[in-house]
Structures are given as C-alpha cells and as structure tokens.
C-alpha cells in the first residue's frame, strides 16, 4: 500500500490535491470556530448552494473560468444574508433556507434547460459531492487557491483580536469601538471565499462538515478560543490529509471520505470528553 501511495504521489495532480486540500481544510477550520460560536453553522451550507447556482449560471454563460463569477455572487449573497440577519425582517435561518434551496433549484433548472455539458448528471454530481474534482485541478486553479487561502489566513491572523471580540459579544465589541458590522462582513466574505474553494474538495453539499466538524470536535476537549482554534486547525488538516490519502489509495470518493474521517475524529473527541467528565481521565 505504501509503494502504491509513493507511486501515486509521483503524479502532479495528486500533489496539487494535497496542497489545495490542506489549505482549504486549514482556512475552513479557522473560520469554523467563529461561525459555530456565532451560531452561523448553517450559513456555510446555504452559501455553498448559492455557489452551486452561481456555477450553473457561469456554465450556462459558457464561461471558461467559472470561479470569478461564482465567487462574486457567493460574496454578495454572504453580505446580504448577514444584513438580513441583522435587520431581522426575515429571520436569519429562514433567509438561509430560502436562499439555499432557491439557488439549488435555480442552478439545477438552468443546467437542465441549457444543458452546458453532455453529461449533466456527472456535472451535477461533481459539483454537489466533489467527486474527484480535487484530483483534476489545473496549475492555475492551484495558484488561485494558494493566493486566496493566503489572503484568508492573513486576514484571520491580522484581525484575530477583532474577530474574537465580535464572535463572543457584538454589543460589547461595538461599545469598545469595534465596528461589529464591518468585521461580520469580513467574516462573511472570508466564508464565501473558502466555500467557493472548498467546492472542489468536498462538493457543495458537504462543505458544512469541513467548517463545523473540526470546531465542534475541538470544543469537546478545549475551552479557550485560542486553544479551540489551534486544535481545530490541526485536526482539520490531519483529517483532510488522511481522507485524501485514503481516498487516493482505496479509490473512494474524496469528499465523502474526508467527511467520514472528520466524523470519526468528532466521535473520538466526544468519547475523550465523556471519559474526562466521567472522571476516567484526569
């Protein structure tokens, strides 16, 4: 099995998949902590469906590179969702649900009517479940992913204190002069970027797992924001790497395998927490 893995690592597309997989896992887990604590766990799911709809529009328009339009539409929707949530004319979860199913339906409808490719079910399957799309990245897509991930990581590190303040108590943050609206907006935009990137890794239906599982697992064992964030990042990268390697060697679907590993890690952390609270571990 090791020989086979070494043989497969000789292919450039496998190395691209590992680089992109690690970067996406790292970025999504960092944002995941804030999103889970702010009770925005489901926003990732909603935005990923928006990204699916946007990708369908780009396909119908026969755009050679679908990412810029997908990114733009997803970011706009992320900002709109956030604003709707604050003004509360339409409650946050209702807005997410509406946008989520609406974008999914419109996306599929457009793809069906205009049939951008010969293999519609294949295109839809690839977009929704990732399929093997992480193994079919071009060099350009890898560079774009590296740049966007670096931007997200830099923003997270530079704005760590502000994001921390906004995550726990927006009112207190506002009272101390932090513009909660602006930082919420930045968080939403960073989430949109990661979701568009993560569609290649796990597909739009499974993105939420990449965002919430590492954070939830880390929260089972650690208590402070910093330790949860660090644990979540490390765990997410390990799970993504493990999932990718298992998938490459055993030929299972990449996205589902990564999510299964994340789920197993959550189970282990939950067990650890139970044993700890039960007094079996000191």
């Amino acid at each position: 099995m090791i020989d086979r893995l070494i043989y497969y690592l000789g292919f450039p597309f496998v190395r691209y998949a590992l680089i992109v997989g690690v970067l996406i896992a790292l970025c999504s887990s960092l944002l995941g902590v804030s999103l889970v604590l702010k009770r925005f766990s489901f926003i990732g799911d909603g935005l990923s469906h928006v990204a699916f709809g946007a990708m369908a529009v780009a396909s119908v328009m026969k755009m050679t590179n679908e990412m810029p339009l997908t990114l733009l539409i997803t970011m706009v929707c992320a900002v709109l969702l956030l604003r709707t949530g604050q003004k509360a004319k339409l409650s946050g979860d209702a807005a997410v649900a509406m946008l989520s199913v609406g974008a999914l339906a419109i996306g599929y409808l457009l793809m069906n009517i205009f049939t951008p490719g010969g293999n519609l079910s294949g295109d839809v399957c690839t977009t929704l479940f990732g399929s093997t799309s992480i193994l079919t990245l071009t060099k350009g897509e890898v560079y774009l992913c590296i740049v966007l991930s670096a931007l997200v990581l830099a923003a997270f590190v530079l704005l760590y204190n502000k994001l921390f303040a906004v995550t726990f108590d927006e009112n207190f943050a506002s009272a101390t002069g932090v513009s909660a609206g602006t930082y919420n907006m930045i968080l939403a935009m960073m989430t949109a970027v990661i979701i568009v990137l993560a569609m290649n890794l796990v597909g739009s239906l499974l993105i939420s797992a990449l965002v919430i599982f590492p954070a939830l697992s880390a929260m089972r064992v650690f208590r402070s924001f910093r330790s949860v964030t660090i644990c979540s990042a490390v765990l997410s990268v390990i799970c993504a790497l493990l999932g990718l390697l298992i998938s490459i060697v055993t030929s299972t679907p990449v996205g589902s395998t990564i999510v299964a590993v994340d789920l197993a890690a959550f189970g282990l952390f939950a067990l650890w927490d139970k044993l700890k609270t039960g007094g079996f571990i000191r």
Binding site: Y8, F11, F13, V14, S59, K62, T64, T115, P116, G117, G118, N119, S121, G122, D123, C125, T126, F129, S131, T132, L135, T136, T138, S247, I248, V249, T250, S251, T252, P253, V254
Partner: protein, 177 residues
C-alpha cells in the same frame, strides 16, 4: 435495451467531446451538437453491420509488456479518471507516449464522418462521471463487440476533425481484459 441506449448516448457524447488545452473536455462538449436518443438509435439501426465484432474469448490474451509509458490498468478508478482528465486537458503532454488502458469498449457510427469510432470507457469511483478514450487498432479484424472488457495499448496522438481537436491511441493492440 435501455442500458444500451444510455451507453451509446454516453459514448456519442464522449466521442464528440474534443480535447484541448486550457479547457476541460466537459466544457468543450458544450460547443458541440450533442446527439439525441433518436440520433443514436438511427445510427445504430442504419449500420447494423458495424455492431458485429469479436467476443472476449476470441481476443488474444494480455501479455506482459513493460514498454509502456503510462499504464492506466495499474491505477485505481480515481487515479485513472484524474489521469484521463489530465490527458483531455493537456493532450500535448502525452503525444507520442505509449498508453495502456482497460475497461468496457463501445463503438459508435458518426454520420458526418461516415466512420465508426471505438473507445474504452473509464468510470470514476462514484460512477457518476465517465470518460472515454478512442483507439484505432493496427489490425482491423480484431475490433471487439460492444461491452467487452478489453485492454488496449497504443500510441497517443491528437487529430483534428470537423474543426475540433480529438485524442486517440493509434497503432493499437487489443487483448481481453
């Protein structure tokens, strides 16, 4: 029968899917005329003699040949799918290389060129996406029946037809899969 129609339709789409750099095979397909089920049925009915071929038992045994640059039969489904996608996206990197591939083979007659094309279908692990690679045998008498599992070894080449770039393995040899 339904399965045959679906497979024939898939093959038509795959054969009409040109390869080229900077654009995936799937996105190129959007610029071609995708045949309808009726087109495929007409083609099948019009050329019944093209559907004859050798059974798996009549094909030669696969021999161990190390002189292969890219052996797709040694890879698992995910890797084969990714590598074939790579071939479709950057065919220029593979021209002149000896490639070996395995899987079910299918044929389709295309009216515009008045030719029958043969391809091996490669499916990914989720079985929702499939790609095919066309081959031209050195020995015309060895073309197999549709749905026969085969191993084909040939030299990778590109060619232009009806204004699009296509890929195929030429001077190919065939063995039972």
């Amino acid at each position: 029968m339904k399965r045959t129609i679906v497979l024939a339709l898939t093959l038509c789409v795959l054969l009409l899917t040109a390869c080229g750099s900077g654009e995936t095979a799937a996105s190129k397909a959007s610029s071609t005329n995708t045949p309808t089920v009726a087109d495929v049925l007409n083609a099948e009915n019009a050329k019944p003699e093209e559907k004859t071929g050798l059974t798996a038992d009549q094909l030669p045994e696969a021999s161990a040949d190390d002189d292969v640059d890219l052996d797709l039969t040694q890879m698992n489904a995910n890797m084969v799918y990714a590598e074939v996608n790579n071939i479709m996206v950057s065919p220029e990197d593979y021209v002149g290389k000896t490639v070996r591939m395995g899987g079910p083979c299918y044929s389709v007659y295309v009216d515009e060129t008045k030719q029958t094309y043969y391809a091996v279908i490669i499916q990914d692990a989720t079985a929702c996406c499939s790609q095919g690679l066309e081959y031209v045998l050195a020995d015309d008498s060895l073309y197999p029946k549709d749905d026969t599992e085969v191993v084909v070894t040939g030299t990778f080449e590109t060619y232009e037809e009806l204004g699009a770039l296509y890929c195929h393995l030429v001077d190919a040899t065939i063995a039972r899969g």
